[in-house]
């Protein structure tokens, strides 16, 4: 045991100085606002902050008595499942095709990554324009070819579809990159061995490639869900603003609407505390239960 050498560093100010910037950033941009939100969730105040009252858990009690808030949970669940699901499946399919191809992969790769460079709000404006009830080209096509009446301003299902498409479209690029990199990291010998054993491309994908991709898939699942919870904000704000009749009002959008547009800082803070708890809970569950089943190569 004595032979085991441990590097010894003099404990001085240096280590503290090195972590200080990171700590400062975490404190200023995360811990401090989060604790403010926690404190404000216990207050009722007017927008100017002239009249502040401590009300205990009143904001939370009101929140959970509000049927529209509970509805928002449901919408968030449906939205993030659809968005994460479709973004993962489509990008996996595209990555598999790209990996299988021999010629032209470069062009495909470049083109498929492009949407990721588009800001969420811009992506949303694009899709909203294509599907606009007044002037959208898809609206026209749907009516002329399929006799389908598209108006996402009135139809909640259509509105949800639109925001899922617009958010997933961007996410596909990101996922695609990771999936493709994951696939190219799989040793060719494994795939060749399977091919020699007579497995076709589909079989090889199902039994060799996909299981080996599990760590990537898991990572993307976590990132996508967090994205659906928070980043989708820009898309919703530019297209539906949570409407029609709150069909696309996900939790984070309601925080914004009540707090910034409505000036209800107490209620909005209470919502952000709940949201914080949910995302923390989800991440813990994912790491504790799903990660266990994943084998890292």
């Amino acid at each position: 045991m004595a032979s085991q050498k441990r590097a010894q560093y003099p404990v001085g100010w240096l280590p503290y100085a090195l972590v200080a910037p990171q700590l400062a950033i975490t404190l200023i941009f995360f811990i401090w606002p989060a604790s403010q939100a926690l404190w404000w969730s216990l207050l009722v105040q007017d927008t100017f902050g002239l009249n502040v009252q401590f009300v205990g858990l009143l904001n939370f009690r009101e929140l959970f008595a509000d049927t529209y808030y509970l509805n928002s949970f449901w919408v968030t669940g449906v939205f993030s499942t659809l968005m994460t699901g479709s973004a993962l499946v489509i990008s996996l399919l595209l990555a598999a095709c790209c990996d299988y191809l021999i010629r032209g992969t470069r062009a495909y790769k470049t083109l498929l990554v492009w949407p990721y460079a588009v800001a969420p709000a811009v992506a949303a404006v694009l899709w909203a324009f294509i599907f606009s009830p007044g002037a959208g080209i898809m609206t026209y096509a749907l009516r002329v070819w399929f006799g389908y009446d598209w108006n996402y301003l009135l139809n909640g299902g259509q509105a949800l579809t639109l925001v899922v498409i617009a958010s997933a479209w961007k996410q596909v690029s990101y996922n695609f990159l990771f999936f493709l990199a994951g696939m190219q990291a799989i040793p060719k010998s494994l795939i060749e061995a399977a091919a020699i054993d007579g497995a076709g491309p589909l079989r090889r994908f199902a039994t060799v490639v996909f299981p080996l991709l599990a760590p990537t898939t898991f990572f993307l699942l976590v990132v996508n869900i967090v994205n659906a919870f928070f980043e989708s904000f820009g898309v919703i704000d530019t297209t539906t603003q949570g409407g029609p009749v709150r069909a696309t009002q996900i939790l984070v959008y309601k925080v914004f609407q009540d707090g910034f547009k409505g000036g209800d800082l107490g209620g909005s803070s209470a919502q952000s505390v709940v949201l914080m708890a949910i995302v923390m809970g989800l991440t813990v569950i994912q790491f504790r239960y799903i990660e266990r089943r994943i084998q890292y190569a």
């Binding site: 927008t47 409407g243 547009k261 209800d264």
Partner: protein, 441 residues
């Protein structure tokens, strides 16, 4: 070090003493005017700055109405608000409730010794921004009201008289049926700003209250009451028209405007008079402007419509010299010449009677028929308790609720009565929240 500081302080003091009122006092003005109107705002400030040397008004564009209001409130919380901020009409109750944060305009004018006569303003405009005792709290700036735009070409195609727009909703419904039957336009009728046009302004137009306690002017304890028989009947008719295709709903804010002047547009649209500029620029057909329709047989209708738009608020806690400058600027801003120019260029109504008369004298209305409809509607009768405006807290949220409930009528999910009852119930909860957050002052 100490000596240096002392020297700097002395130099500073000397500078202040040496230059009494030499440098112009800067007055920050945050606004939300975009495009051509942004330029107009800058022009007005430049003209004022050139007219005297003591004060310099600096206009700053701070984003849309909701953004600039949030920004001003945040700046106030950080103890550094602008001198003047432009706030949209639905933010009026919030601003007014913040009594210690704002300085009422009548007080600013009085203390600075500026001549100020609230009676010079158009009553329906002034009343929206005055307190229960008739004292003007914020200065009206850009005001518009709800009118009917119609496509004269489509009227001709449908065999209707293009110079006889519908006066009542019943006539409008009939005309819409004819337009649809003759296929004179891809869409017969639409509306912009449904809550403002169809409920807030329509209530005033029919002289029925939107909320108790004089539409909220009498205190924060007001309750909504737009689920009355007149409004239910009105929304029922629109719901019926939506069902049989005479009314096409395209969105909550200005979507109706662009639908109206687009190539596959609607023959009629109820909207803000301030969309005149855009419509004139974009419409490839002859259009007319007419009064907002009303329902026949309602006692007192038509009364007067109410305004939308924004007013200018002054923050408290600024040095006295600032208030003198603000008062001078407000007098300048309300002068007939500036107001008439603003009105004619933008489609907003003139806020003073003198500006209206000046525009008449200049022959503007003869050259641009229909542009005086809005101000005539406001001047039709003296505003009553039900028609001087809406003074409700959390009005943006209430409008959201109304939008949601009306949408469920247009899609046939709810009856007009059920939707308005629900909107009143949910809206009242917002009012109670506002009351609670602002009580104790």
């Amino acid at each position: 070090m100490r000596i240096k500081l002392l020297a700097a302080a002395l130099a500073g003091a000397g500078l202040v003493a040496a230059l009494p009122a030499q440098a112009a006092t800067e007055i920050q003005w945050w606004h939300s005017m975009t495009g051509a109107n942004d330029e107009r705002v800058n022009n007005i400030a430049n003209k004022f700055n050139a007219s005297q040397s003591e004060y310099k008004v600096v206009p700053v564009f701070k984003g849309g109405y909701a953004d600039s209001m949030s920004a001003a409130i945040a700046a106030y919380r950080a103890k550094n608000p602008p001198d003047i901020v432009q706030v949209f009409e639905v933010g009026t109750a919030t601003m007014m409730a913040a009594k210690s944060a704002i300085k009422p305009v009548y007080q600013v004018m009085h203390e600075a010794g500026e001549k100020f006569d609230p009676k010079a303003y158009i009553p329906a405009v002034a009343s929206y921004y005055s307190d229960e005792r008739g004292r003007m709290i914020s200065l009206p700036f850009n005001s518009s009201t709800t009118v009917l735009f119609y496509n004269k070409d489509a009227f001709k195609k449908a065999g209707l008289d293009p110079n006889k727009p519908p006066k009542t909703w019943e006539e409008l419904a009939e005309d819409a049926a004819k337009i649809k039957a003759a296929n004179a336009a891809p869409c017969a009728f639409t509306t912009s700003w449904q809550s403002w046009v169809q409920l807030e302004s329509s209530s005033a137009w029919h002289n029925v209250p939107f909320a108790t306690l004089d539409n909220g002017f009498g205190g924060m304890g007001a309750k909504l009451e737009f689920n009355n028989p007149v409004m239910v009947k009105h929304i029922e008719l629109l719901g019926q028209m939506a069902k049989d295709g005479r009314f096409t709903y395209v969105g909550r804010t200005t979507e109706g405007d662009s639908k109206f002047y687009s190539d596959n547009g609607c023959a009629m649209n109820t909207e803000s008079s301030a969309s005149y500029g855009n419509t004139k620029k974009n419409a490839k057909f002859e259009f007319g402007i007419s009064e907002l329709p009303y329902h026949e047989g309602v006692k007192g209708a038509p009364q007067n419509t109410i305004i939308g738009g924004a007013s200018l608020w002054v923050f408290s806690g600024k040095p006295k010299s600032h208030y003198k400058g603000i008062a001078k600027f407000f007098t300048f801003l309300s002068s007939p010449e500036i107001q008439a120019e603003w009105h004619q260029g933008t489609g907003y109504v003139p806020i003073t009677k003198a500006a209206y008369e000046l525009t008449q004298k200049q022959g503007f209305y003869e050259k641009n028929p229909g542009t005086d409809i809005a101000v005539q509607q406001l001047l039709l009768k003296n505003p009553t308790k039900a028609s001087k405006g809406v003074r409700l807290g959390n009005l943006p949220q209430i409008r959201n609720i109304i939008d949601e409930e009306l949408e469920s009528v247009w899609t046939g999910k709810k009856s007009a009565k059920a939707a308005l009852d629900e909107a009143v119930k949910r809206g009242d909860e917002e009012l109670r929240k506002f009351q609670r957050a602002n009580s104790g002052k």
